[in-house]
């Protein structure tokens, strides 16, 4: 029997970890992630979850412990935010190059100083080169479903790359929403037991991670990129299968809302994508042909889907919740890169918004859209990148 519960994004992530039957969880608390691991500790100590929970002494150790556990044949889980993720950075590289399918919930939070516990994507987007698959969620149901799909994806023989499932701190982490928790039997059928790509076994001894000369290093990195390409093919397949089994699917890389006949498409990730839908409805009521596209997967980057999206649109406005200092917002950069070489491509503009948890409401998005529509009318973009709502 599936259950309908009402709970916060963080607790839901904990439910997903329990449903996925993770064997070993190693995690360190950090605001706003703490209630993820508190929920898991509660499950484990009350006997509702049969797992080992290692209360490590730092996030770097959390990822190191997950790597050790995964290498020893366990399905693993961890969670973190901001500085915790940054502290883990070295080990993120380690996990992906070791081809260990670790799943991690990242509760997005701004990097300090100053100490800011509110949401933006500076933490996870800073890690985009580490070889981790990245999902961005917009509601608590999606957090649950994506974590289950993440295990299925990253443990697949053709992938075997670790995965982070991101959700914005405080916006989703601490907001309660109704979520359907499927029947455990159905989840068990969807998620086969963990089949390690390699393992520390005294009967079949191997050494992992030794010195490697330039002679062979590149080939292993090539394998990782090939695995990302395989993940790209598998993500929609797994999502479809999830849809057939559980009645919910996310239709791939980009959640498109009223984009089909849109002149202007607003691209974003996470909850800004949800807010954008409201802005779109309001603009549509006034006759403007605007659509919203929420990018759900940042790695592997949905190049082809962006190209499809750009087919009909005359303008793309990209809202980034992070800036790569000295350049632009990562989503904007990669959208432009995906459209390189396209003849008669859409006008494009990039916005930096919502850093440090500053609210980006549907009214803000409406204003952004109005400005974009003016550019569209003029036939050119006067300012390619703008920061939204700066108190000048």
């Amino acid at each position: 029997m599936s259950q309908l519960i009402i709970d916060t994004g963080n607790h839901i992530a904990g439910y997903a970890c329990k449903a996925a039957k993770a064997d070993v969880i190693a995690a360190y608390p950090i605001t706003p992630q703490s209630s993820v691991v508190e929920q898991i500790a509660d499950f484990v100590e009350k006997g509702k979850m049969d797992a080992k929970y290692i209360r490590v002494e730092s996030e770097h150790s959390a990822m190191a412990a997950c790597i050790g556990a995964a290498a020893a044949g366990a399905r693993t889980f961890t969670a973190t935010s901001a500085h915790g993720l940054a502290l883990m950075h070295e080990m993120l590289h380690w996990a992906s190059a070791a081809r260990l399918p670790i799943v991690m919930a990242v509760v997005n939070r701004a990097m300090g100083p100053g100490w800011n516990i509110w949401a933006d994507f500076s933490d996870s987007l800073s890690q985009r080169d580490t070889g981790w698959i990245q999902f961005y969620c917009a509601d608590n149901q999606e957090i649950f479903d994506t974590i289950i799909q993440a295990y299925r994806l990253c443990e697949d023989k053709r992938v075997r790359m670790p995965t982070m499932v991101c959700h914005e701190g405080l916006i989703l982490s601490h907001t309660s929403m109704p979520v359907e928790i499927p029947d455990q039997k159905d989840i068990d059928e969807f998620l086969p037991p963990y089949d390690p790509p390699w393992i520390l076994d005294v009967d079949k001894p191997v050494t992992h991670g030794s010195l490697i000369y330039p002679e062979w290093y590149m080939e292993f990195r090539y394998f990782m990129d090939e695995a990302m390409k395989n993940a790209k093919k598998l993500i929609p397949e797994i999502d479809k299968e999830y849809g057939r089994k559980f009645g919910r699917e996310y239709r791939g890389y980009i959640e498109r809302y009223r984009c089909d006949d849109a002149d202007l498409v607003l691209l974003s990730m996470g909850t800004i994508g949800s807010e954008a839908k409201i802005a779109v409805d309001r603009l549509r009521r006034h006759g403007f042909k605007v659509g919203a596209a929420r990018v759900r997967v940042f790695r592997p980057f949905p190049k082809e889907e962006i190209q499809n999206l750009a087919e009909g649109a005359r303008m793309l406005t990209v809202i980034d919740r992070h800036i790569s200092y000295g350049m632009e917002g990562p989503l904007f950069i990669e959208v432009k890169a995906s459209l390189y070489g396209k003849e008669d491509g859409p006008l494009m503009t990039g916005l930096i918004a919502g850093l440090g948890g500053r609210d980006v409401t549907y009214l803000d998005i409406e204003k952004i859209a109005q400005k974009s529509l003016k550019h569209l009318e003029a036939g050119k973009v006067t300012k390619e990148v703008e920061w939204v709502g700066l108190r000048r």
Binding site: D23, I54, S61, A65, G68, A72, M91, L200, P205
Partner: protein, 295 residues
């Protein structure tokens, strides 16, 4: 009393590996396998041990070995232990095997955390008293006065006492050992294997290129370290310290060989002045007074 003839003949740290001629670590690894057997999983951070097993695609380890980042040995080992416990894998020893750098310095956080959590594993710090793998830079475990590439005029601080730090964590078993005393080392590892909980053993590893002595003198150096009291052999259980083997008689200062014998036989102490030697001798003497109080 362990008899050498009764030790297994098989080698699990296989010959023809990348270690230096005369490498003390290599001896320690062979002794570890004699003590624990092949059902041992090594977790090795960046250190000499992670390189001497030779580059990909070969390894000198005939049992499983997980290389891991420099500071993460104890944390990764915690994960391995948890996975085996969850999966019901029994009769396997998880052995974190780290250098003094990965233990006393960059690795101390993970080590402290892992033992505080009561992780059921053996943590061995093989102590060659510098970051040898990266070319002889000083570590917290380098003794006062020693030359290293980052202390070219001699280290100005004393050696960090990690065994006593571990003893202060109240773990079931802490011991010091030296490759020059193989029976003592093997019996300590075997004892540790039978205990549940965190066990810490620090093994002194003389290093010919790092300490600057001829390759044939590796075992002799370790012996001198113990005989002069520079390196005591002891165990700490239930808060009580017990001196072992030759160290047992050395509480009596007159029985300790003067440290000059040890210092003058290594190039790394070549620049020591009379004053430096006095400082070191005082350090040895006061350390022993401290040990005596803990007995």
């Amino acid at each position: 009393m362990i008899k050498l003839k009764e030790l297994p003949k098989e080698e699990y740290f296989l010959p023809g590996n990348a270690s230096c001629a005369g490498c003390g670590l290599s001896i320690a690894l062979r002794l570890a396998y004699k003590a624990l057997g092949p059902r041992t999983v090594f977790v090795i951070p960046a250190c000499c041990a992670s390189v001497i097993h030779s580059p990909f695609p070969n390894t000198a380890f005939a049992s499983p070995c997980l290389n891991i980042a420099f500071e993460a040995a104890a944390a990764a080992a915690s994960g391995v232990v948890a996975a085996y416990e969850k999966r019901g894998v029994k009769d396997v020893t998880v052995l974190a095997w780290a250098g003094d750098g990965g233990t006393a310095d960059i690795g101390i956080q993970a080590l402290s955390g892992a033992v505080e959590r009561g992780t059921n594993f053996i943590y061995v710090c093989y102590d060659n008293e510098s970051y040898m793998n990266t070319g002889i830079q000083r570590s917290g475990s380098t003794p006062y006065g020693a030359w290293t590439t980052t202390t070219p005029t001699g280290k100005k601080q004393h050696k960090k006492n990690v065994p006593l730090i571990m003893a202060a964590h109240d773990i079931p078993y802490v011991a010091t050992a030296c490759v020059s005393y193989p029976r003592d080392l093997i019996s300590k590892l075997r004892k540790a294997k039978e205990i549940t909980g965190p066990k810490y053993i620090q093994i002194l590893i003389p290093c010919p290129p790092g300490w600057r002595f001829p390759t044939e003198k590796t075992i002799e150096m370790g012996r001198l370290a113990v005989q002069t009291g520079m390196w005591p052999l002891f165990e700490v259980e239930s808060g009580k310290l017990k001196l072992n083997g030759p160290s047992a008689r050395l509480v009596d200062k007159s029985k300790r060989k003067p440290i000059e014998q040890y210092l003058k036989s290594q190039g790394r102490f070549r620049r020591l002045t009379k004053e430096d030697i006095e400082v070191l001798q005082t350090w040895v003497d006061s350390s022993w007074e401290h040990y005596e109080r803990l007995i």
